[in-house]
């Protein structure tokens, strides 16, 4: 078992807690950079998509996993990002200028929606965000000047740094760089006072308030930050899809994002990547499984949503901490071997929460 001798406060502030962290994450990045050498275009495309999903997952994770606010309509922000980006590119704004504008626009849209919607809590918030998803889809259909309506909107694939987005290797690197940047941004927010305030709101609003956290402001901020990340993912998604249509940003995409964070593990950034890998490869896995199933089951059109739902339910019931939680358990098992106890991760008895404050 690793024992870290702490001599500086910086050791608690730094992202990498020890040399092991530095080594493994550098290795991971090296492998990711070297991937185009061994993988063909199809798999590179898939992994680019997983990077995009991860960025969107980070957005939803900050909102749901860290601030504890549910959102069932997050595809709306993917849509806002994608359409804004496509619109800007169509009007001749270069890629490097368009991306920051997309981030700011989605941040502002998040704040504008967040301020009124976050007066609701729990179930009602979930319903309101669900409605938000439908309203956004409808806006994308009706606002033809901006979105092209049901005819759709082709996404220009401009040159950037002398390379084309049609080149899957280049696009993969763009997605990877944005994922790493987004990861760092998210980690930085979460280790700052703002991130701690989010966690405080999640765990006890009343205590957060008594410590000086402005609940309304920070909830709206969480929604806005979440929107900004998801909007960025939307912009990349626009390049990935190539042709935007309103029905891409439907309820099913929102639920996919929800599945992503639940399966990955609520309240962990690792979880967003694990979840994205899972969600990204699941449709392929299902497609492969269809071949082996009897045709009466295998050819059913509703197989995919049903499996998504089933997986969601099973994870919530049996592994609420998701893949990342399972990974922590396995890691601890080997660290403590042979003295690991299953009870370590058992939820402790919850002491009575006051209802009269």
């Amino acid at each position: 078992m690793r024992f870290i001798f702490k001599t500086k406060y910086s050791q608690d502030i730094n992202i990498a807690k020890h040399n092991g962290d530095r080594f493994w994450y550098s290795l991971l990045i090296l492998i990711m950079v070297a991937l185009p050498l061994v993988l063909n275009d199809f798999y590179l495309g898939e992994i680019s998509y997983i990077c995009i999903l991860s960025i969107a997952g980070i957005g939803l994770m900050i909102l749901s996993g860290y601030t504890g606010l549910a959102s069932l309509g997050h595809a709306a922000f993917l849509g806002v990002g994608a359409y804004t980006h496509a619109f800007l590119l169509t009007n001749g704004i270069p890629f490097y200028a368009s991306i920051p504008i997309v981030i700011v626009v989605s941040f502002l849209v998040g704040a504008a929606i967040g301020i009124p919607i976050l007066r609701l809590t729990g179930m009602y918030l979930a319903i309101a965000t669900l409605a938000l998803g439908f309203i956004a889809e409808h806006v994308f259909i009706k606002w033809e000047h901006f979105t092209g309506g049901n005819r759709g909107l082709p996404v220009p694939q401009p040159e950037f740094l002398g390379m084309s987005f049609y080149d899957s290797v280049f696009f993969y690197y763009v997605c990877l760089v944005f994922l790493i940047a987004a990861m760092f941004a998210a980690i930085n927010i979460l280790r700052s006072p703002t991130g701690r305030a989010f966690v405080a709101i999640r765990d006890s609003e009343i205590a957060a308030q008594s410590l000086g956290v402005n609940l309304g402001l920070y909830k709206a901020l969480s929604f806005a930050i979440s929107g900004a990340f998801t909007g960025l993912a939307g912009a990349l998604l626009a390049h990935y899809i190539g042709y935007l249509a309103p029905d891409i940003f439907n309820i099913f995409l929102s639920l996919t994002l929800l599945l992503l964070i639940v399966v990955g593990g609520m309240g962990s950034l690792h979880g967003t990547v694990f979840g994205a890998i899972f969600v990204g490869f699941l449709p392929q896995l299902i497609a492969i499984c269809r071949d082996y199933l009897p045709s009466s089951i295998g050819s059913q059109p509703g197989l995919e949503p049903m499996l998504f739902g089933l997986i969601l339910v099973f994870f919530i019931l049996y592994e609420p901490l998701g893949i990342y939680g399972r990974w922590m358990k396995i890691k601890l098992f080997f660290e403590l071997f042979p003295t690991y106890k299953r009870q370590t991760f058992k939820k402790q008895k919850v002491f009575t929460k006051s209802d009269r404050v």
Binding site: Y9, I189, A197, D203, G212
Partner: protein
């Protein structure tokens, strides 16, 4: 002039008056205890002070400033910190993170400097940590820095909540039943700490408490409430021998 003053506070929930025309003042450096049977309105009073409940009538003054209309999240900025009757800790965070949240009111960074974690953000984290470490040393929490609240025993959690309130550098500390659920030894320790908070840190304390031997040991003055009205107020000795108080607690 008192540091803290409550003037004619009335809180009505429908027809029930949880507090009825309550007035008192607390001097700087005092340990002021509020006692009373269940439902006397003690916690309601605290919630009015932290602006969670809106009083139907009356005003609250802190350092001669009327705080009856202050926003709840600004109360701690004025220098009033509190603990809760049933713990309100951030359970899925470590002790350190809980205590660092106590420094939230001193936040100077904005979201941009946090996204890039600029040197100023790092410096701020260091400053927060220095104060937090002082409190950790004061309340003997060294062992628990990196433990999740989920995994802590009740007595330590109580301590962490007190520590979190101290991290805000308050002038006035509101303690809601600090000794409930503690063992005898822990209660004795708490008594020393509360005395130390008063004498070493110079913090004024208002406390709700049921354990009378504990109350008599630490309090400078006591206020007894019953059915939202003030029964008696004065030195511990006077309260002990007050006929109304005896009657409220023990009947005829």
């Amino acid at each position: 002039m008192s540091l803290f003053e409550v003037k004619n506070i009335t809180v009505a929930f429908g027809g029930v008056k949880a507090l009825n025309d309550v007035s008192f003042g607390v001097d700087k450096g005092e340990i002021f205890t509020i006692i009373g049977p269940n439902g006397a309105g003690k916690s309601t009073l605290f919630n009015v002070i932290s602006r969670i409940y809106e009083p139907s009538k009356g005003e609250i003054y802190f350092e001669n400033q009327n705080i009856s209309k202050t926003k709840p999240h600004n109360i701690s900025k004025l220098g009033i910190a509190r603990t809760f009757q049933n713990l309100e800790l951030f359970e899925n965070a470590t002790v350190l993170q809980n205590l660092l949240l106590g420094r939230h009111i001193y936040k100077k960074t904005n979201i941009l400097s946090e996204v890039f974690f600029t040197p100023s953000a790092r410096k701020q984290e260091h400053e927060y940590r220095l104060k937090v470490e002082e409190v950790i040393d004061f309340l003997d929490l060294q062992h628990y820095r990196d433990t999740l609240i989920n995994g802590l025993p009740y007595g330590v959690r109580k301590n962490v909540e007190l520590a979190r309130a101290l991290c805000t550098d308050p002038k006035l500390l509101l303690l809601d039943e600090p000794s409930s659920g503690l063992t005898n030894e822990e209660t004795i320790d708490l008594g020393f700490w509360i005395k130390d908070i008063q004498s070493l840190l110079g913090i004024t304390i208002i406390m709700i408490e049921h354990d009378m031997s504990f109350v008599n040991k630490v309090s400078d003055r006591i206020l007894a409430l019953n059915y939202g009205k003030i029964l008696a107020s004065g030195l511990p000795e006077e309260i002990k021998n007050n006929a109304d108080v005896k009657q409220a607690y023990m009947g005829e």
